[in-house]
């Protein structure tokens, strides 16, 4: 698109030049109103600006692989930032090559902890007594799974998550990889993101008494969030009630985001694991500290960034599939915006969703990349044989088949499908994605945005220059017309004078004859 606009500009500029050249004599004639020297400069600038998009054509991506014009733009940005990219590759190989999945996980986990630290310093630590009570509560629920839980280990984790994670990061990463026991999940998630905040819970209660401008939009989507999950099907049940409360409170807490479709799915997953006021606090943490908020802000800046990072990962880790997608016109945003916005909770089986969330909460939203790449890797062969629409269909409905197994329905779980979740999680960890790569791609993206902005600014200034030139041309044309009129008048006068002259002469001749 950008290239098009520029092409249009370039065909316009010669006209400008022509107009100017044509007008030159007049301009010199009418020195008092002659233009400022800027005219020449602008036209020189014009030629220089056109170089920016043109260089895109010289990128090393063959034309036939970029059926969608926008790609041109992106490669243009990439060219400028080759440096950090290759650097990232080096590191990626180093770190990924010899490390076990858990070590890789620990790396992300520690990075997340670092991020969390500032906050835990400022907040009153949750008393271990509280946590102990929570634990005992879970232990006494008689949950079938409770008997298989390693209480000593998880007890220690829950008691002081931040310290434990710092001291035993690899051990913890391995445990998270294996899955947080579901009765403890809500509790641990809250510990992971350090969400417990009595003041915020109070604020939540306050919000519930207020009214939000988004209430109708929220209400409309309530019955449409997990419509097949027993907890949310009843229009007047606790599930939809809590969903409505948390969404309304959040829309008041963060007016800039307000309400956005996709958000209810995130909240629903939280509500399936904890009470509403706690879900609200975790949501606030996810949004602000994990930067999920940038997925839902106007223009969705973080979603755009993460889709860019994902594209680069795809290019780096699955180059053949990447090219196949390009050839078929499949853009990753066509499928991953849904995955990323809802953190995979949109129409995905919950056992898988929970395990992905375990990792997102432990290591950051970036965990989504490992899962996305692992899925494509696992299905690469199948995808390579498909065409555009088949690819999209596959991604929508068959992408999880490789981790799905038929099984006998049991009494407590009547579903006939089970999921190889452990395998999926292991595969995600094996994807060799490092924080370093992601940082490098983020820098590339920032450069790209900057280049885009600069380009837009240039286009703007060109447009302005064009406008002032047009105005000038108009003014000069007016002057020319004015001069023409004056010229006509003078000529007319001259003719009249001549006629008078001739008349006088004839008269003179007549007098002489007389």
């Amino acid at each position: 698109m950008t290239a098009d606009v520029t092409a249009a500009r370039m065909t316009e500029s010669p006209e400008d030049t022509d107009a100017r050249v044509e007008l030159r004599p007049l301009e010199t004639l009418m020195s008092p109103t002659s233009s400022e020297p800027a005219t020449d400069l602008d036209i020189v600038d014009d030629a220089r600006f056109s170089v920016v998009p043109l260089s895109a054509a010289s990128s090393d991506t063959p034309d036939e692989m970029t059926p969608i014009e926008e790609t041109v733009d992106i490669t243009a940005g990439l060219n400028e930032s080759r440096q950090p990219q290759s650097e990232a590759n080096g590191h990626g190989a180093e770190n990924g090559g010899g490390s076990t999945p858990s070590r890789n996980g620990a790396q992300f986990l520690l990075a997340r902890l670092e991020h969390q630290k500032e906050r835990s310093d400022t907040l009153p630590a949750r008393s271990s007594l509280d946590v102990q009570k929570d634990l005992e509560r879970v232990q006494q629920t008689g949950d079938a799974e409770a008997s298989t839980i390693d209480w000593d280990f998880w007890g220690e984790v829950v008691a002081d998550y931040q310290t434990y994670a710092a001291d035993h990061s690899e051990q913890l990463a391995r445990a998270i990889e294996a899955g947080i026991p579901s009765p403890l999940r809500g509790l641990i998630w809250q510990q992971m993101c350090a969400s417990k905040d009595p003041a915020l819970e109070q604020l939540y209660a306050q919000y519930l008494k207020e009214t939000s401008p988004h209430e109708r939009a929220i209400k409309r989507d309530l019955g449409r969030t997990f419509p097949n999950h027993a907890f949310f099907t009843d229009g007047s049940g606790v599930g939809q009630g809590n969903l409505s409360n948390v969404l309304k409170a959040y829309s008041l807490h963060d007016p800039e985001v307000g309400y956005c479709q996709g958000l209810p799915f995130v909240v629903a997953v939280l509500l399936l694991n904890m009470p509403d006021e706690e879900a609200f606090c975790v949501l606030v943490r996810l949004m602000y500290s994990y930067d999920l908020r940038g997925h839902f802000l106007p223009e969705m800046p973080s979603l755009q960034l993460r889709m860019f990072q994902f594209d680069r990962l795809l290019e780096e880790l699955l180059p053949v599939l990447h090219v196949h997608f390009l050839r078929q016109g499949v853009k990753s945003s066509m499928f991953c915006s849904q995955w990323f916005l809802t953190l995979f909770s949109y129409r995905w089986p919950l056992p898988i969703v929970y395990r992905i969330w375990d990792n997102c909460l432990a290591s950051g939203i970036e965990a989504i990349f490992g899962f996305s790449i692992a899925l494509l890797l696992k299905n690469e062969e199948a995808l390579l044989n498909l065409k555009f629409d088949q690819i999209l269909d596959f991604l929508k409905s068959k992408i999880l088949d490789c981790y799905t197994v038929k099984r006998e329905p049991t009494e407590e779980d009547p579903s006939t499908e089970g999921y190889l979740v452990d395998e999926f999680v292991m595969d995600a960890f094996r994807t060799r994605i490092t924080p370093f790569m992601l940082d490098a791609y983020a820098r590339e993206y920032a450069d790209l945005l900057q280049a885009r902005e600069a380009h837009a600014a240039e286009m703007d200034s060109l447009r302005n220059a064009n406008r002032s030139l047009t105005a000038q041309v108009k003014k000069l044309e007016d002057s020319l017309a004015q001069l023409d009129r004056e010229h006509c008048d003078i000529v007319k006068e001259l003719v009249m004078q001549r006629i008078t002259n001739e008349e006088l002469e004839t008269e003179l001749v007549r007098y002489k004859l007389l």
Binding site: P213, R216, Q261, P298, M300, M334, Y346, D389, D393
Partner: protein, 255 residues
């Protein structure tokens, strides 16, 4: 016939995109068209959804490749990707919500400025079932229409009040929308995804208006040298089939 017209499965691909404000019923319209059903509690569209549907039109098989986009203003930045290569667009508004027609108009403007210049655009006033029987049973429809409300914080209190009081009543006159559509060069239909009214007609008329020869020429390199007779022949047959479609609209697109 191994005609240049036929792709591997002998159908002509038509890329179609649905645009319009959130909750006007875009996804429901597509679902009605693709599987002839209506689900009141379907998940809202996140990002965009891709669906396909084959239809027979005269002697041709068309295959609609449909992008159903998310309507909330926030998803706007994702939309150009979906309409950029589209040959047809359905811009949907909700006949019970006046503001949704304004949004539809701005989509039409954007399409006319940014999309493929040959794009066929249809305007669809959806949820017409709510106003057809509004007089008879306005109380029963009140709940349904309470979907009118702002999606973003941009709504004014006045709009809120209007939405709250306008339940169950037609907010966009058929003539007004028709006049606008004619002026802007759009196909126009009032539809109901709920009852199925107007849906098949909508997609059938689009199929007829699509410059098929143009698509063939652009999708297959050698397609340009097709005999010119094909175009005039299809026009002659068009009238015949139009009648047939009107008699049995449900069967027009059920391959």
């Amino acid at each position: 016939m191994a005609d240049a017209a036929a792709s591997a499965d002998k159908s002509i691909q038509v890329k179609l995109v649905l645009l319009g404000e959130a909750a006007v019923g875009k996804s429901s319209v597509v679902l009605r068209f693709v599987s002839n059903e209506f689900q009141a509690n379907k998940e809202p569209t996140i990002g965009a959804a891709f669906l396909t549907q084959k239809c027979r039109l005269e002697d041709r098989v068309l295959r609609y490749e449909i992008w159903d986009t998310a309507g909330q203003e926030r998803f706007h930045s994702l939309a150009p990707m979906y309409y950029r290569n589209a040959q047809a667009a359905v811009v949907v508004y909700d006949v019970t919500k006046a503001a949704s027609l304004d949004k539809a108009k701005s989509w039409v403007k954007e399409l006319q400025r940014q999309a493929n210049p040959h794009i066929v655009i249809a305007l669809a006033g959806n949820k017409v079932d709510l106003v057809n029987n509004a007089a008879a049973s306005s109380s029963s429809t009140t709940e349904e229409t309470s979907e009118d409300e702002p999606d973003d914080a941009t709504a004014t209190p006045a709009e809120l009040a209007q939405a709250a009081s306008g339940d169950g009543l037609r907010a966009v006159a058929r003539d007004e929308a028709q006049a606008y559509a004619t002026e802007a060069g759009l196909l126009f239909f009032e539809t109901s995804a709920k009852t199925g009214e107007g849906i098949v007609e909508l997609f059938t008329e689009i199929a007829k208006k699509i410059p098929i020869e143009h698509i063939l020429a652009s999708t297959r390199g050698g397609g340009a040298n097709r005999p010119g007779g094909a175009a005039s022949g299809s026009n002659a047959q068009g009238n015949v089939n139009l009648d047939a479609n009107n008699q049995t609209p449900k069967n027009a697109c059920n391959c």
